[in-house]
């Protein structure tokens, strides 16, 4: 009896462990993504960013989380209590559930579903309910406007993003996240080079989907105060915040898996470039060196110790990453290096989000919709047809995949240019005027 129970649970232990790690670590990672964002923003805006809590503000996320937990929880008088309570939970649940099917490396995946991508898309679309319901339940005009904007925006850009993903799926021929990466490994080519337009469309659409600037209209602080989050405070607000950053990680992971080769290192099939395997180790060692160099220069003893500890952690990580290279048993190179490359790509993707946010002004709602429906969606559809045609040309007429894709991508680019030209030319006259 006990034996059979153990037998039954055995294959589920590892996934359960991963799930636990994700649920526990995700808030921390999200907190550090926020810190990273503030630091990147500070760097672009000629200032320092958080510097007070911990050396270079490294403990800021923890302080922020504590503050948010201890804050008074205000519920507006005429709010729809249950929905008000449910909405942020829904948002965060959707974002976390989507992580179940993400392959953070060849070995780190909770479940390799055969409909992985479909599952992720479906679940992350549920997040919109959290926003709409939250905006409705707050019983405030600003929240309502924010929620309406948000739902309209999500629906429009989900279409474009979905079409972009379909292009990659045509190339991969499978919905399993694991399978998609493995196909890229076989071809020795990331899909971003085979379908660059699809990647670009997904990049823009995913920014809009996660409500990030320049498409952050639902929470445009200078217009709608905070959009659907206006009436939320304390922990509930933190949940929304967590959901937003978790969603960023999710879309970053989707893009990494589908277009950027998942956990593969650059040029996975070129043996001459095997030295790239040392890059993760060197990067960690460099970070550690920097920490040790800076540690004695910190003004306070705690800060010195903390920075030294961070350096030590980096050394440890470098050692773990180095173990498989030197043939230590039980350390799988594919798993460890895979996770490193995957996270690196996700963070680069998120960095692009931040970079755009601090460079551009915000779109207006009608402009956003126009961009979505008049440009992104048509181009995405044409792109899907182009990729499909390229595959047919390859299979039936033996053009070879590369030339067929090249011709089709150029064709789609021409269509996109034509669409942009038409959009300029027949622009609807601007509202207002005498």
């Amino acid at each position: 009896m006990t034996h059979s129970l153990v037998e039954f649970f055995k294959p589920h232990i590892l996934p359960l462990l991963y799930a636990l790690v994700i649920v526990l670590v995700l808030p921390l990672i999200a907190g550090y993504v926020v810190l990273l964002e503030r630091k990147v923003m500070a760097d672009m805006q000629v200032r320092l960013g958080p510097m007070r809590v911990g050396p270079h503000g490294l403990l800021q996320p923890i302080a922020d989380a504590l503050k948010l937990l201890l804050k008074e929880d205000i519920i507006p008088e005429n709010a729809d209590l249950w929905i008000f309570w449910l909405a942020p939970v829904l948002s965060v649940t959707a974002a976390m559930l989507a992580m179940a099917a993400l392959p953070f490396g060849p070995a780190f995946q909770i479940a390799d579903l055969n409909i992985g991508l479909l599952f992720i898309l479906g679940i992350s679309s549920m997040g919109i309910f959290g926003i709409v319901l939250g905006g409705w339940a707050s019983n405030s005009h600003y929240s309502l406007l924010g929620a309406l904007r948000s739902s309209a925006q999500l629906v429009s850009y989900e279409t474009a993003a979905g079409m972009a993903l379909v292009s990659a799926l045509l190339l991969a021929g499978t919905l399993s996240m694991h399978g998609i990466v493995e196909l890229q490994a076989q071809q020795g080519m990331w899909f971003v080079f085979e379908a660059p337009i699809a990647f670009f469309i997904y990049l823009v659409a995913s920014i809009a989907e996660t409500n990030r600037a320049p498409f952050d209209l639902p929470e445009a602080e200078s217009e709608l105060v905070a959009g659907y989050m206006t009436e939320y405070s304390g922990f509930r607000w933190a949940l929304y915040f967590l959901a937003e950053y978790a969603n960023m990680i999710v879309v970053g992971s989707i893009a990494t898996t589908l277009f950027l080769g998942g956990w593969l290192r650059p040029f996975p099939n070129v043996p001459a470039l095997d030295f790239l395997d040392y890059v993760p180790i060197l990067l960690m060692l460099l970070t550690a060196g920097y920490c040790f160099w800076r540690a004695p220069r910190q003004p306070v003893k705690v800060q010195k110790m903390f920075l030294a500890a961070v350096g030590g952690l980096c050394i440890l990580l470098a050692a773990i990453l180095a173990a498989p290279v030197f043939g230590v048993p039980y350390f799988s190179k594919a798993a460890l290096h895979g996770a490193f490359w995957f996270l690196l790509k996700v963070f680069l993707y998120i960095y692009v989000f931040m970079w755009l946010r601090f460079t551009f002004p915000r779109y207006r709602f009608d402009q956003l919709m126009k961009l979505g429906w008049h440009f992104m969606i048509p181009v995405a559809i044409v792109n899907v047809m182009g990729i499909g045609l390229a595959l047919v040309l390859n299979r039936q007429f033996h053009w070879g995949l590369a030339p067929a894709l090249l011709v089709m991508n150029v064709g789609v680019l021409l269509v996109a240019a034509w669409l942009a030209w038409v959009g300029e030319r027949y622009e609807t006259p601007v509202v207002g005027g005498a």
């Binding site: 672009m44 217009e223 002004p361 709602f365 509202v431």
Partner: protein, 380 residues
């Protein structure tokens, strides 16, 4: 859209709401109403069909206070009206009282006044540019703008010890002599500023999103602008070449060469371009002025106790936000009988309703920004 601008009643309180219309309150606590402006908006979806500005949250009774202070005592109060352009306020007041007394500041004082006032114009426009861009969602320019504004404030601090509410000038001239390095510092700042303005323009001027957000937004024709009494960049962007510095020169402006930038369309984009150009012109004036600062006294002989002869005077200057006028009535005592101030922000704010009709909520924010109001001045 043309309908919405003409048919809706201006008083939104008395209008019956349609089935899909809502009224929302923007302010007095709202991230982008530049202080404590409260705007009531009647919305059809997100389209504005009516608006009403509610002001007075920052009313301090400045004009009434003037009646109970003597002329010198009142001078620091004017700094607290348009607190981002305190030097310009002070200049207007000092010159008005000098005009009332028939006195005139010595040439050296007038040139130094011009330099400081033009620096203040640049500082005010920088603050405007930063916050306006922030309202439209560009998070970065404000920090660049504050970096340069800081240099100007440092010059003010070295000159008179204060950074914001400076009280830099006195009736009859100046209290402080220019400090030793002032010409050099102003020159260095002005030379740097050229590239810095290019930097802001690189971020915004040809940015598609910025152009899309500002072109055709809040259009004010030349006739409308004049009817509403708009002045300053708001008027000039509509194509009216009116600048008090040229039309009725004061301080030392008649000695310097500069142009009055104007726009054609009177939209938010043109107002942006006009203000950017004005910064370049102010820089030009400063560079000319420091070449040749006359020597001599900095204070006219007007005596310690000011008793202007009975009478009245109106004097206006071109403040960064438009025509700033002082109307002072004297009854021959040491205290003014009445001081009436014509603040440019207050008058320009009248154009707000005209500008927002038919636009979207997002444009309301852009339009509040483009009028460049300071609530301390609107409410006094």
């Amino acid at each position: 859209m043309g309908d919405a601008r003409t048919t809706a009643s201006p008083n939104i309180e008395t209008t019956v709401l349609g089935a899909d219309e809502i009224i929302i309150n923007m302010g007095p606590q709202h991230p982008s109403t530049h202080g404590v402006l409260r705007v009531k908006l009647k919305l059809d979806g997100e389209k504005v069909v009516g608006s009403e500005c509610i002001i007075g949250y920052l009313h301090r009774g400045v004009e009434k206070i003037a009646e109970h202070r003597n002329y010198q005592q009142f001078a620091p109060y004017v700094d607290r009206m348009d607190y981002v352009a305190a030097v310009s306020n002070g200049l207007g007041y000092c010159e008005a009282v000098e005009k009332l007394m028939g006195a005139e500041a010595p040439p050296r004082a007038r040139v130094i006044r011009t330099i400081l006032t033009e620096l203040q114009r640049i500082a005010s426009h920088l603050l405007w540019l930063g916050t306006h861009a922030l309202d439209i969602g560009a998070l970065t320019p404000i920090f660049y703008c504050f970096r340069e504004r800081e240099e100007i404030l440092k010059i003010f601090e070295k000159y008179c010890g204060a950074r914001l509410t400076t009280h830099a000038f006195r009736i009859g001239g100046l209290q402080y002599e220019a400090y030793d390095e002032m010409e050099k510092e102003v020159e260095r700042f002005c030379k740097d500023l050229e590239h810095k303005i290019d930097e802001y323009e690189a971020l915004l001027t040809e940015n598609r999103i910025w152009v899309g957000r500002t072109k055709g937004i809040g259009v004010l024709t030349a006739q409308e602008a004049m009817d509403l009494g708009a002045t300053g960049p708001v008027l000039r962007a509509s194509g009216v070449k009116w600048d008090v510095r040229k039309a009725m020169p004061y301080a030392a402006y008649d000695q310097y060469k500069f142009e009055i930038p104007t726009g054609q369309n009177g939209d938010t984009y043109d107002r942006y371009i006009v203000r950017i150009q004005e910064m370049r012109q102010s820089r030009r004036i400063c560079l000319q002025a420091i070449q040749n600062i006359p020597s001599g006294p900095i204070m006219a002989r007007i005596g310690k106790v000011l008793k202007p002869p009975p009478g009245e005077v109106y004097h206006s200057i071109e403040a960064p936000k438009g025509e700033l006028g002082y109307y002072i009535v004297s009854d021959g005592t040491t205290q003014p009988y009445r001081v009436r101030i014509r603040p440019p922000s207050f008058v320009n704010l009248q154009a707000f309703d005209r500008m927002v009709r038919g636009h979207l909520v997002a444009d309301v924010v852009a339009i509040i920004g483009t009028i460049d109001i300071v609530l301390g001045e609107v409410d006094r």
